[in-house]
């Protein structure tokens, strides 16, 4: 046998001459079926419901400006959600999807990473954009699918994407961003960037095969990224206990060899600290980190959904009491950073900004008809040019049937100068 080993070693020089995939495994003489109780995973909590810091070590975890920026972004997100659910009910947009109750998980994690980090989301993470400075008008341009939307109005409302803010364009299919985040992070590493990828998804999406592919590949290929699971209890109507039987999503991270932390997702400070430390760890060690944010989807799945069909008002009331914005509010009061008048002013101003932006954006034209064939390929291929030419002739013949594009010349002029 030793001869064989030697000849093999000569053919393929390998620093690891003998692998042992059982090196870490010890033997036992007892039949022992291990279950999830064997390794319970607590969640990091730094603020109690009264807003008191539970671990003095984190008193200086952030400065006043960061805490207030995060808090205002949470408020902005809440107001945006309320406004747009209203707009959907008024028939002004076709669809909306709120993140009520999950603002701390989303905004807290975003605040914990750097602007140069890529963010890939599922579709309920508008708070990440709000924190990064997306304006009321930018939000509205996407939701009204108008010519000013950088994604050219091609996707349903809330499918944001903004290159300048390192926010990857949202795709509806669930979990597809998880292996993409691993690949993007690998690219960041290979090009020597001091940056990671922060990838959000829900506990339902974690059932997709892409979750397995993404976490395993990120671990094996040493990708500096954060996988952030918003465990909000529901995937549309399906409760988490019909989604999986394990100890949440966090327990899976261990199985993939991914460093993992479970966090109280309604605790903005804990989310911020966890994301910040996860980022530092991922960059230093070139590896992924999994964060499971334990939270609750106070909102309906979307405006197409009615949660009264699958959960009780009592259950919702319990979580309404755990409102992450309320907890952050109390914390800011405790540390003396809250200026109530300034907050009231911000809320009033935000409401007014959003309404003005809505009224502006809904009046903007859709993208020119020619954009229907751009971006399918890098260049407009001849068959698409033919299809566009035929379509243009048809629209010209029946302008009244295609009002959005036939009246574009006038509307385009109106849209000019507005950026």
């Amino acid at each position: 046998m030793s001869d064989v080993t030697q000849s093999t070693a000569k053919k393929t020089p390998d620093p690891v001459s003998r692998r042992d995939h059982m090196a870490q495994i010890t033997a036992t003489q007892a039949v022992n079926l291990i279950d999830k109780q064997s390794a319970p995973m607590p969640m990091l909590q730094l603020l109690n419901s009264d807003g008191n810091i539970l671990n003095k070590q984190y008193i200086d975890a952030w400065d006043k400006d960061t805490a207030l920026k995060l808090f205002y972004a949470m408020h902005f997100t809440r107001i945006l959600d309320e406004r747009m659910i209203g707009a959907q009910r008024q028939g002004r947009i076709s669809f909306y999807l709120a993140c009520t109750g999950e603002e701390a998980a989303i905004v807290g994690a975003t605040a914990g990473v750097e602007m140069r980090d890529m963010i890939m989301t599922q579709y309920r993470e508008q708070g990440a954009l709000a924190y990064r400075g997306y304006t009321a008008t930018q939000f509205m341009n996407q939701m009204f699918s108008n010519v000013l939307d950088p994604n050219k109005g091609r996707q349903m409302p809330i499918h944001y994407g903004d290159k300048a803010l390192n926010f990857m364009t949202v795709s509806s299919p669930l979990g597809t961003q998880i292996p993409q985040a691993a690949g993007y992070a690998y690219g960041q590493k290979m090009s020597g960037e001091d940056a990671i990828t922060l990838c959000f998804f829900g506990e339902g999406a974690a059932s997709e095969g892409d979750f397995h592919a993404g976490l395993n590949m990120a671990a094996v290929l040493e990708c500096p990224c954060i996988f952030l699971c918003r465990n909000n209890g529901y995937a549309i109507s399906t409760p988490a206990d019909e989604q999986f039987k394990g100890d949440g999503i966090a327990s899976r991270g261990i199985g993939y060899g991914v460093h993992t932390i479970r966090v109280d997702g309604n605790d903005a400070l804990a989310m911020y600290v966890a994301a910040k430390e996860a980022r530092a760890y991922a960059l230093k060690h070139n590896c992924p980190v999994l964060i499971e944010a334990m939270t609750y989807r106070l909102a309906a799945h979307s405006t197409s959904d009615d949660p009264s069909g699958y959960r009780s008002r009592d259950e919702e009331a319990v979580w309404r009491e755990k409102d992450p914005i309320m907890r952050m509010h109390r914390y800011l009061q405790q540390v003396g950073w809250l200026h109530e008048k300034a907050l009231d002013g911000f809320i009033t101003q935000t409401r007014s900004d959003l309404l003005a932006a809505l009224k502006f954006s809904e009046k903007q034209a859709t993208a020119p008809l020619s954009e229907i064939v751009t971006d399918v390929y890098a260049e407009v291929e001849p068959h698409l040019q033919d299809q566009l030419d035929a379509l243009q002739m048809h629209v010209n013949k029946y302008p009244e049937a295609y009002p959005n594009t036939s009246q574009q010349t006038a509307a385009d002029k109106q849209g000019e100068g507005v950026q």
Partner: protein, 325 residues
């Protein structure tokens, strides 16, 4: 007879199938207590129990893999994929497993009891991922049948046939018509044969072929053409695979012209297959090139949905072009 919409007809077919055969089981995301995001599976769980109508984890490849195994064991799973746009993670299970199960085992094993239900199609402001019409992908795969109803009567009869067929069936439901299409549906248990087209309207100048939600679009176009003195024959294919070549070709031999309309993109769409067969079978009878009025070769664009759609006006123009060729 009761007036039902298309969703209610699907729901009634599922109740009928589950009542008649305890091997019929309904599975998918949110199909349990909630009754599905469109309510197509309402009250199935309360009537037949959680073991026969159950929520699955959110994993399409798992749903189809599980359903393949269940069907191989002898059950008749009716697996729901919430939107046809989300069927692709299950593509491997359908294309390489469902469709080849019987052939690769020399007929020893089969998943012939499997039915896959999925809402498809646009016109509902659904953008890229709630609008697609992927029937041609699956029609390309030998071993799975593809069925699309256009109204409640067809939906119930074709779904019952699909569930009871000895072949796996992809049953695609035009979601634009879920509540919009209302019609009389017999309460009795009835089946409509797979592989047969439905002659919707007789005419003499051109044959219009469509399926699902596009049938009413070509009907509108035919109405407009009639006011210009053009008589259209309309055929609803119902079954995309196998498709009723005889009915279509006999009609084209009579009218001398053929137009096919589908929502899916033009290139490689199922119209191409129909056009090739019609050209081959009816060559000497054709008085104009076969016309295809289809979606553009682009992803489904939200802002330009109206322009993208193969609508009645585009169909009318193509009819008139063919007639005056």
């Amino acid at each position: 007879m009761a007036q039902l919409n298309l969703l209610q007809a699907v729901n009634q077919a599922l109740h009928t199938a589950m009542k008649a055969d305890e091997r019929v089981m309904v599975m998918g995301e949110d199909v349990g207590h909630f009754g599905g995001v469109f309510r197509a599976t309402s009250n199935l769980q309360s009537t037949f129990g959680k073991a026969r109508c159950f929520n699955t984890p959110l994993v399409e490849q798992g749903i189809l893999g599980f359903a393949n195994g269940l069907a191989a064991q002898g059950a008749k799973p009716v697996a729901e994929i919430q939107f046809a746009d989300y069927i692709y993670p299950a593509f491997d299970q359908i294309v390489n497993e469902t469709a080849k199960f019987r052939y690769r085992s020399g007929g020893q094993f089969t998943v012939g009891g499997l039915t896959i239900r999925t809402p498809y199609g646009g016109g509902i402001a659904g953008g890229h991922y709630h609008s697609q019409s992927p029937e041609a992908f699956f029609a390309h795969v030998p071993g799975i049948k593809v069925v699309i109803p256009r109204n409640p009567y067809q939906a119930k009869g074709l779904l019952l046939s699909s569930i009871r067929a000895n072949d796996p069936v992809l049953f695609m439901e035009p979601k634009r018509l879920y509540r919009a299409s209302v019609g009389e549906v017999p309460e009795m248990d009835y089946e409509l044969p797979l592989g047969h087209a439905d002659l919707v309207q007789e005419g003499s100048d051109i044959t219009l072929v469509a399926w699902g939600a596009q049938v009413e679009v070509v009907q509108q176009a035919a109405q407009k053409a009639l006011s210009h003195g053009v008589s259209c024959e309309i055929i609803d294919l119902q079954s995309i695979l196998p498709w009723d070549r005889e009915t279509v070709c006999q009609s084209v031999i009579k009218t001398g012209r053929c137009l096919i309309n589908h929502e899916a993109p033009l290139t490689g769409g199922f119209a191409s297959e129909i056009a090739a067969v019609v050209q081959s079978e009816c060559f000497l009878h054709l008085e104009a090139p076969i016309a295809r009025v289809c979606g553009l070769d682009t992803p489904y664009p939200l802002a330009h949905e109206k322009e993208y759609m193969p609508d009645a006006l585009k169909t009318f123009e193509a009819i008139m072009h063919a007639v005056h060729f």
